[in-house]
Symmetry: C2
Subunit: 393 residues, 2 copies
């Protein structure tokens, strides 16, 4: 029974570390996820060395991130896409294209081959709307037009980011440079996402009362969790990341009548399991990397690039709202948070990123999340003041 005791102890240390880290971060007005990752870095081999990656903790981290992306999909309303209109669509699309392009070129200049550069750039793409939503809520600004645009654009951003991630993982695994073959790989990835997403959401919308038909307890939750695990596994068969299947399963589940109940039931699961993902992300972070000046410089450049490219893309998309509001929207799209971290951990697991690139991307994701709340708060207040500058129509 020594083994069981050892497992319980490592679960206890990771779970308590995560919750304490989150609590401290929130008291310091930082996003909770920052605290969880920093807790992992403190507990991990590069500092205290109380926790090191093992099979069980890695498996729990994998389950945690799969359920996290499932929950992100579950909170994504495809119907909202039709309502958000042209501005949100422009913000979402330009907010993906500009950072992806910018970061690909930067990574290539840093000396990586194109396929690896695109993988790195994928970590610069996805906005983590949760942090922004929290700031908007704190400032009682959720009813302002900028808020609607940001939250609508974040949906488009999520879907595009997943599509892009699917493509770069496929390309990377294949390692091909043949254009025809590359197109086939991309077509397979995009095809999987579009077909599963389209068929699944249509089926879910038409006949979701069968989720309640089985006699087992919690039948709806059980069925969608099985769908989540199933699509996560299936997407790895198509050369995609498991989280893409989980995200698709969430999108499908969000179209069922039990959506709200499912969101409610997912919360305890996320409370228990996502800490393992974030803490293990921190555990794998070699903080010693930043003792080298070139890594620190790379981090500064990557963070500035991440902020400016997202700000520029989203600003251009939102210009119709006026310059100040467009800046606020752009800033609202800056935080990368969990999705950037997920891409970094995928890159590390696949052997694409070395310890330095991994550390830089995780730290960049954290920094964008830490920087956003104060800057966004300031921009939101500023954009509400009477403006003298002429507004474009």
């Amino acid at each position: 029974m020594h083994d069981a005791a050892g497992i319980l102890l490592s679960l206890l240390v990771v779970f308590v570390g995560a919750r304490v880290g989150e609590e401290l971060a929130q008291r310091m007005r930082m996003p909770g996820v920052v605290g969880e990752i920093l807790a992992g870095a403190v507990l991990g081999p590069s500092l205290l060395n109380w926790v090191s990656p093992d099979q069980v903790l890695n498996a729990l981290a994998e389950i945690g991130v799969v359920f996290l992306l499932f929950a992100v999909g579950l909170e994504t309303r495809l119907d909202d896409l039709k309502r958000v209109g042209v501005i949100a669509f422009l913000v979402g699309t330009l907010g993906v294209i500009v950072p992806f392009g910018g970061a690909t070129v930067w990574a290539h200049v840093e000396g990586f081959v194109w396929s690896k550069s695109m993988f790195i750039a994928a970590a610069f793409v996805a906005t983590s709307a949760g942090i922004t939503a929290r700031v908007l809520q704190d400032m009682r600004a959720l009813q302002r037009r900028e808020a609607h645009v940001i939250l609508g654009a974040a949906v488009i951003d999520d879907i595009l980011a997943m599509l892009l991630l699917g493509v770069v993982v496929s390309v990377q695994q294949d390692g091909t440079t043949n254009a025809a073959h590359l197109l086939a790989v991309i077509a397979e990835a995009v095809g999987f996402v579009l077909i599963v997403g389209w068929v699944g959401t249509r089926v879910a919308r038409r006949r979701s009362n069968w989720l309640e038909r089985p006699r087992m307890s919690m039948s709806a939750l059980s069925i969608v969790l099985a769908l989540c695990l199933g699509l996560a596994w299936l997407s790895t068969r198509f050369g995609l990341a498991a989280i893409i299947g989980a995200f698709l399963a969430g999108l499908i589940a969000s179209e069922t009548e039990q959506r709200q109940q499912l969101e409610h039931h997912m919360k305890p699961l996320l409370t228990l399991l996502t800490p393992f993902f974030f803490v293990m992300t921190g555990v794998k972070l070699d903080v010693g990397v930043f003792a080298q000046p070139d890594a620190l410089l790379m981090l500064v450049v990557a963070t500035v690039l991440a902020v400016l490219t997202k700000l520029l893309g989203a600003y251009l998309g939102a210009l119709k709202l006026g310059q100040r509001s467009a800046l606020a929207v752009g800033m609202g799209m800056v935080p990368r948070g969990e999705v950037g971290v997920v891409v970094a951990s995928l890159g590390l697991a696949a052997g694409v990123f070395n310890a330095k690139v991994y550390a830089v991307i995780v730290a960049m994701s954290l920094l964008t999340s830490i920087l956003t709340p104060p800057l966004l708060g300031w921009l939101l207040a500023w954009s509400q003041q009477p403006q003298d500058d002429p507004q474009p129509t």
Copy 2:
């Protein structure tokens, strides 16, 4: 990323197997847990060989059973103990003593040393009230006096069973026969349970609003889950089974103001995690054992013994209700279900039980649970008919 895919596939197979097994069992009017364990036996090495025990699945099973016993503790109301009165107390106590004594003697006659015999007998003790509660609910008999006695006695039964399990595990680990040392081991186990239980519930009753004070999301759930993992680990340090600490944590949490909310939040966690425990229980079950006539005979004897000793003990305790009602109460206490299975898996993990004893105990627990619903239904109907026999006062 092959590793992640492999983990997802084994999670998928175990989870879907469990839910399909539960569904089939319930459609055949059997307890769901029977279906989950049989699903494991079918998926395991002795039949299909799709699932075999590995580190990750064993860890998930361990987390599942820890949370299961936490939830059992959470549903145990200490206040109910004061209300159920003398009859329930007699039913609970005699319903533990008679099976424990009978099974210890039987196991010793079968050739086991006394310490091992007591461990085996501990699997004959704990009633699984869930199955009985379901039958009472189906028959709209939850308001009858027999129902109150059964459910009250089940609380006492749970607590005594945990105390007993603590003692037999300590004695077994120590392997001592010195009487003074034995008493010290027992005192340590009982002391741990009583002190932690008493102090914990008193603290929880007085100041449980602090569970809501932290700013983190789901603070109450996070704190009690940490308490559960912490006490589970701590109880292994005292030579007790991890589930005893988890049960104590549940008892403590049940005294907080957030009890109902916590029960609600535990449901999704149990839905995801307990299947791993029950399926792995089945996976480890070598069904080939029952091809040998002596194992089959042992199973029949063990099952008859389990039914008769519990029936006798509880019947004697409930005689004041009249003979027919006392029989109904006795039958209501018969199902062993999950707790018998938990003891069996502890014995297997500790190397105390061989494959045959393990298989017999798991199968006995299942059989008592399968036999109870039809027999209890019949006795409940019979005890309500006009009676000719004289009733004892």
